[in-house]
Symmetry: C2
């Protein structure tokens, strides 16, 4: 698992001339870091004087973030695997009509999988950002810059997911699938923007 690589090994692998791990994998780790920061803020709020009335919610956030963090870590591997499948399909022979057909079918399947993974990143990220307004309002005020940092990482992860879905959609021929994905992404972006607005309201 990529989660077992060191921070240095991971940036080295990203930087190399191999296309994986690439943007999608980085986005998944960004989301893991964002959710970890929110977990820290909830932890820094628990048991602190003046913050007693939201203990149950803070505990729930800690539990939730722990679970989600694990999902984001496994998305790193899923993203790399999905992209490697696309590369594998692209290298299949295409000399005969039969070979061309097989290659094309394999590629289309791989492209959908390569779009589904960053879409999942977008979906999970929105599910985390939903807790940001609450932590702004009721979290330890000394950790407010950590809530902001988490929000930045999660926004980043969301838009990295979007860029990676979109680049794959360009080569997918199943129009129904493409249309459905576009609609669902738009819905998710609506939810994201709604959360970000609530955060700005809490800030004032």
């Amino acid at each position: 698992m990529f989660a077992e690589k060191s921070l240095r090994e991971f940036v080295d692998m990203v930087a190399s001339s191999s296309p994986t791990p690439g943007g999608g994998a980085v986005g998944a780790y960004a989301a893991a870091l964002g959710s970890a920061l929110l977990e820290m803020v909830a932890n820094l709020t628990l048991g602190k004087k003046g913050y007693e009335n939201k203990e149950a919610e803070m505990e729930a956030i800690v539990e939730k973030m722990k679970l989600e963090r694990e999902k984001f870590l496994s998305l790193i591997d899923k993203d790399v695997k999905a992209f490697d499948e696309v590369m594998r399909a692209l290298k299949m022979p295409k000399n005969t009509e039969e070979e061309k057909k097989r290659r094309s079918e394999q590629l289309q399947r791989a492209l959908k999988e390569a779009a589904d993974v960053p879409y999942e990143l977008m979906r999970l990220t929105v599910g985390i950002i939903e807790d940001v307004p609450f932590l702004y309002k009721y979290g330890n005020k000394n950790a407010i810059s950590d809530v902001e940092s988490a929000c930045e990482m999660l926004k980043s992860a969301f838009y990295i997911g979007k860029a990676n879905v979109e680049i794959n959609l360009k080569s997918i021929r199943d129009e129904e699938y493409v249309e459905k994905m576009k609609q669902e992404m738009e819905e998710l972006e609506g939810k994201l923007k709604y959360c970000l607005e609530s955060i700005n309201e809490e800030k004032v």
Copy 2:
């Protein structure tokens, strides 16, 4: 060094109830990931058919990103150390006037250091984002989502830096220092926005 921790260990440490590593450390790693993605895009462009006329620039980008990446990795440790110093100063005794004075002086020094590190993150990040428009225009078109992903990570790192400078400025009494920092941050943000605009122009 934090760079030797695994991705999983690092998120675990971020998530824990200890305030370090926190947002600043996460922002520094985000910048390392962003610069690594740009390095990958330059690597994926080098030696590719149709991209021969910018080889020298691409090689220069690879070299630059390698160096900058290392700076970002060491900023993780610097951020943690600076914040730990603030915590240490806060725990100093304040029973006598003399103790109060010593504690206050120590705290003010520590706060400046804790503001200087994320400011350095902002400065270095802008120095990297400056290469994004070029990679958009001349980089391997198949890696365009990686340029976008890099840009997201770097923007995020920049604003995380800003949030972390600002929270420290609130407690710094040296008005001249605070004013200077605010002005310099504004200049940097101007440069960042200019880069982001150039990117949007390349996109169209």
